[in-house]
Symmetry: C2
Subunit: 195 residues, 2 copies
């Protein structure tokens, strides 16, 4: 992809914040017309999200969700399980770890749906999107400082929550786009057995 | 909503970055179990996204999209028109301004679909989701430092791009969830005439 009429080229980089969580840089860049500007952004290690499918006894599907207080938006959010990659951790290993730690579920089958960028204007973050099925429930192992409820919902119920504003988390809304099209048969997945 | 087993309470606040774009704080908070921790996050003025519907001569629908280089993710992204609220600007006024400035389109009818939170773990940002129809094309007025292509796509084509990874921007993927359910009739909208 050439796109030289759109691309910006880095001239120099300055670290502007090294917090315990946020790590930010200010780059000086050359614009397509040759002018110079600055871009400030967060550098993020990457993350994963899991869409866990439960098969009910009658054959109907439910999904596993979390209710978690999110301090920056000052409210309890309904979201799919998710978490940051540890150093050198593979995406699937992270998905399996986060699902187990946060919800107690382990899955026998996994499928990678794709990737999303939550905030392209000021963060490098990517979130890999995984589906999980063949779930069995064990003990969860929350991190210190982590408090969350695990709930389940039928897909129709979850869609209603997206429509009426009870779900506003963009990664979860993206997960629901995948869920709806997977369940309709429009977007089949390539399942693999867990190691 | 009580949720006292989940909520975190602010003890104190410290500004840790005042950039030209990024504004970050570190709050000391009390956790539900009484322990203390810190939360670092970006404070954002809020934004809007527009899903512009074009009616073709044969009655079929196309949507207006942008191709824009996004420096933090180092690639050209396909996205719905969007932008930040100016100080004291109302959401609809911002949606109308951003659509006109970035694409040149003005719309006769508008409908607010809902709101999304792009990054609940480290930003206060909200994005109001608007649909626009009755489009007429005029001159666009890009900001300095803004370079973008305006394209159109059929809904089925856009859905394919979401599935195959050509669209990975979370706000746009959320817009596609709304678009798909609006076009199917599942999520009707409440249209209002432009002032």
């Amino acid at each position: 992809m050439a796109d030289t009429h759109l691309r910006e080229i880095r001239q120099s980089r300055q670290e502007i914040l090294k917090g315990s969580f946020l790590h930010a840089f200010r780059d000086t860049v050359t614009l397509p017309d040759g002018a110079t500007t600055q871009r400030e952004f967060i550098v993020h290690p990457g993350a994963v999200m899991v869409i866990p499918l439960l098969l009910d006894a009658d054959g109907s599907v439910r999904v596993v969700l979390e209710r978690q207080f999110r301090y920056p938006v000052d409210r309890v959010m309904v979201e799919f399980p998710a978490g940051k990659l540890d150093a050198n951790e593979a995406s699937l290993a992270c998905a399996q770890r986060e699902l187990m730690e946060e919800t107690g579920y382990r899955a026998t089958q996994w499928a990678r749906a794709g990737v999303l960028h939550p905030v392209i204007s000021y963060s490098t973050e990517t979130i890999d999107i995984w589906f999980a099925r063949g779930l069995t429930l064990g003990e969860r192992k929350l991190d210190a400082c982590e408090f969350l409820d695990v709930i389940t919902a039928q897909p129709d119920e979850l869609l209603q929550w997206c429509r009426d504003g009870r779900v506003t988390d963009a990664k979860t809304l993206t997960g629901v786009l995948w869920l709806q099209n997977f369940l309709s048969g429009a977007w089949p997945l390539d399942w693999q057995n867990a190691a």
